[in-house]
């Protein structure tokens, strides 16, 4: 009988390994989808004051946390069992970090839902916040997260670089919301409690943008092997755009 050759064994193992990595990647993206929907529903509840929806967002956060723990376990399992090297190791590292960022975004969504509940429960709270436009900031943050996850699914460096650039827009949006709120508070001190809560919401949205940016940076790290965190934007763009 023909002996099993060395190469066919390693090929077989690497195929199984690839399948394992692919399944982890899919589950990270599934977690991303859950977090996306959490944000969307938290913002919907923030605008409409739908109690049942907000409560559901708050409760569902435990599923995000559960996925984080499970995925972290899977990653350490793969490291111990397969001892991956080079690009595979980079992928695993990036995944553990991405999962942490996703979990934080989930927490921010839960925070928004909590604030929305307390704003809508207060007499006249909903009326006091009319005219403060956090929705646009939220749209930008949501699109950043969506595109960061898309870039992760496609390992698309250009899309990731674009997400990183988008973060500046959120920061300036956040400052303009703050200015608006300060004006409101000076005009009518009765709005201060609500305005402070809206500051928290705006801050949560701004943090989501930061986490999405981190995730985009990990995509560049997976593909290029370069760490673009805390580097000047010029250097980042050079890495981001292969052209």
């Amino acid at each position: 009988m023909k002996p099993i050759s060395e190469t066919s064994v390693s090929e077989h193992l690497s195929k199984q390994f690839d399948a394992e990595l692919e399944s982890i990647r899919s589950r990270v993206l599934e977690m991303g989808g859950l977090v996306e929907s959490q944000i969307r529903r938290a913002l919907e509840g923030f605008a409409s004051g739908d109690r049942a929806l907000l409560d559901d967002v708050i409760v569902t956060d435990h599923r995000v946390n559960g996925l984080e723990v499970a995925l972290d376990g899977d990653c350490s399992h793969v490291i111990v069992k397969r001892q991956p090297a080079a690009s595979d190791l980079r992928l695993i590292f990036a995944i553990t970090k991405t999962v942490t960022d996703l979990e934080r975004i989930g927490d921010e969504a839960q925070k928004i839902a909590r604030m929305a509940k307390s704003i809508h429960e207060r007499e006249g709270g909903a009326a006091a916040m009319r005219g403060v436009d956090v929705r646009h900031t939220a749209e930008v943050a949501l699109s950043m997260l969506r595109r960061a996850l898309d870039a992760f699914a496609r390992l698309d460096v250009n899309a990731a670089a674009e997400v990183i650039r988008q973060d500046a827009a959120i920061d300036s949006e956040f400052r303009s919301v703050l200015r608006q709120l300060v004006t409101y508070m000076m005009e009518d001190p009765r709005t201060i409690t609500t305005a402070l809560e809206i500051v928290w919401v705006a801050k949560a949205i701004e943090r989501m943008g930061d986490h999405a940016k981190n995730m985009a940076e990990y995509v560049i790290y997976i593909v290029k092997g370069t760490d673009v965190r805390h580097t000047a934007s010029a250097a980042r763009e050079e890495t981001g755009n292969p052209a």
């Binding site: 993206l29 599934e30 991303g32 996306e36 929907s37 969506r146 898309d150 699914a153 496609r154």
Partner: protein, 437 residues
């Protein structure tokens, strides 16, 4: 007999005949040599054709099948015919495939073909736009990596069991999709995505309308019934009774107004298009200004801007009521001390009538829905001021009947501007004042 056997037999016969002839003339040795030579020539002929055929088979093209002589002629011409037919069938198939792809691309739905492992095999342009897919680069990627909505992933996982037929998936840019999976082929799936954003909006509007009509009519009715019971069961002094009756009359009048407005709306919806009668604008504007001043009772600064050089074509009563409605809204919502301006502009591009106020303004999230029936920006406020909640819906309908558009601009805390824009075909040069008199 098969022509190949026949020609082979002929070659042997020729060899035998020539061999025996030469053998008779020049001896047996020469005879054998001649026969061998003839057979060698015959073999050479076959070898040459075989080589050409082999060369053609290495790169077969239907047009360039080699031609041959002898027994090869029939074989090669048969091959030629076959190659022709095959290439014809192939191009027919290719054409059918192109036609099918074009049809799939033209479908209004988004179509994605998924393999047994839920990886994308192919998608049409609509699906690419709706789901943010790349029709080339995303082939082979699991669909759940790119369409990550949890409800969709659950639907896909429960697929095949008795689940819902389709699933609602919020996509980017505020679009809502309805996605359905249809099995086909070998464990493959056809994924159909339909944009239901508009349908959902219409459904919400319809539901809100029914709820609102009942609510709007029930509020005055509750008051009415309450007073009726009080008057009937308690012994009240005549002055009290008169007061209560007056309040009941007010509520009844309110219900009356709502029903009148609803009827007016349904008449507007089903009525024939308005006549193309001249509506003199200058006197109309003056009348509107006077009405507004009367309604305001000196609480607002009311001004009129613009001198009309065009008149409108349409129904004067309908237009006057629509403009009057915009104006009374402005007067009612603007706090005392504010100003209301009527602005008329006309030119070759048409005419516009605008009402600008310095009222509280309308938040951007309400603007798209403000012309819906019974839509309230602030539920408690508008009823205090006596509106039925149908005014703007009627205005919008009336203007649409005149091919005019209603533009609403507003900023919270600054004021609002409602303007009606009429196209040139709805205007006519104004008659000079002395011609009228």
């Amino acid at each position: 007999m098969n022509p190949v056997y026949r020609s082979t037999a002929a070659a042997f016969l020729v060899a035998a005949f020539c061999g025996s002839l030469v053998a008779l003339l020049a001896g047996a040795a020469w005879g054998w040599a001649t026969a061998a030579f003839v057979l060698a020539a015959f073999l050479g002929h076959h070898a040459r054709h075989l080589a050409r055929l082999a060369r053609w088979l290495a790169r077969p093209e239907p047009g360039s099948v080699p031609e041959g002589t002898g027994s090869w002629e029939a074989v090669l011409s048969g091959l030629h015919r076959y190659a022709r037919q095959a290439s014809g069938r192939q191009s027919e198939l290719a054409e059918a495939l192109v036609r099918f792809r074009r049809a799939a691309h033209a479908m209004p739905e988004g179509v994605v073909l998924l393999d047994a492992h839920h990886c994308i095999e192919w998608c049409n342009d609509n699906a690419a736009v709706m789901l943010d897919l790349d029709p080339r680069a995303d082939v082979g990627r699991p669909i759940t990596n790119l369409v990550r909505e949890p409800s969709f992933i659950e639907y896909l996982a429960a697929y095949g069991e008795d689940g819902p037929r389709a699933v609602r998936v919020p996509a980017s840019r505020g679009i809502v999709l309805s996605i359905q999976l249809i099995p086909y082929g070998n464990e493959q799936k056809l994924m159909l995505a339909r944009d239901v954003t508009q349908a959902e909006r219409v459904e919400t509007m319809r539901r809100d309308f029914v709820a609102n009509v009942s609510h709007e009519l029930r509020t005055p009715l509750t008051v009415l019934v309450g007073f009726l019971e009080t008057v009937r069961e308690l012994r009240l002094d005549p002055q009290r009774v008169r007061d209560y009756l007056a309040m009941m009359g007010e509520q009844a009048g309110r219900m009356h107004r709502i029903i009148d407005d609803l009827l007016a709306l349904s008449v507007l919806e089903s009525a024939p298009p308005p006549p193309l009668e001249r509506v003199p604008v200058a006197p109309l504007l003056e009348r509107l200004r006077a009405d507004a001043a009367a309604l305001s009772r000196g609480r607002h600064a009311i001004s009129l801007e613009g001198t009309p050089s065009l008149d409108l074509l349409g129904s004067e009563t309908e237009l006057a009521s629509a403009f009057g409605n915009l104006l009374s809204n402005a007067v009612r919502y603007t706090p005392a001390g504010g100003s209301v301006r009527l602005v008329w502009r006309d030119g070759p591009a048409g005419a516009s009538f605008a009402v600008e106020d310095t009222g509280p303004g309308i938040a951007p999230e309400h603007l798209p829905r403000i012309t819906e029936r019974f839509y309230r920006v602030d539920r408690s406020r508008s009823r205090e001021t006596g509106g039925t909640g149908l005014g703007l819906a009627i205005v919008k309908h009336t203007l649409a009947r005149h091919q005019a558009a209603l533009d609403i601009e507003s900023e919270v805390g600054k004021g609002s501007r409602f303007s009606a824009r009429f196209p040139p075909q709805r205007t006519i040069p104004a008659q000079p004042v002395n011609a009228l008199s």
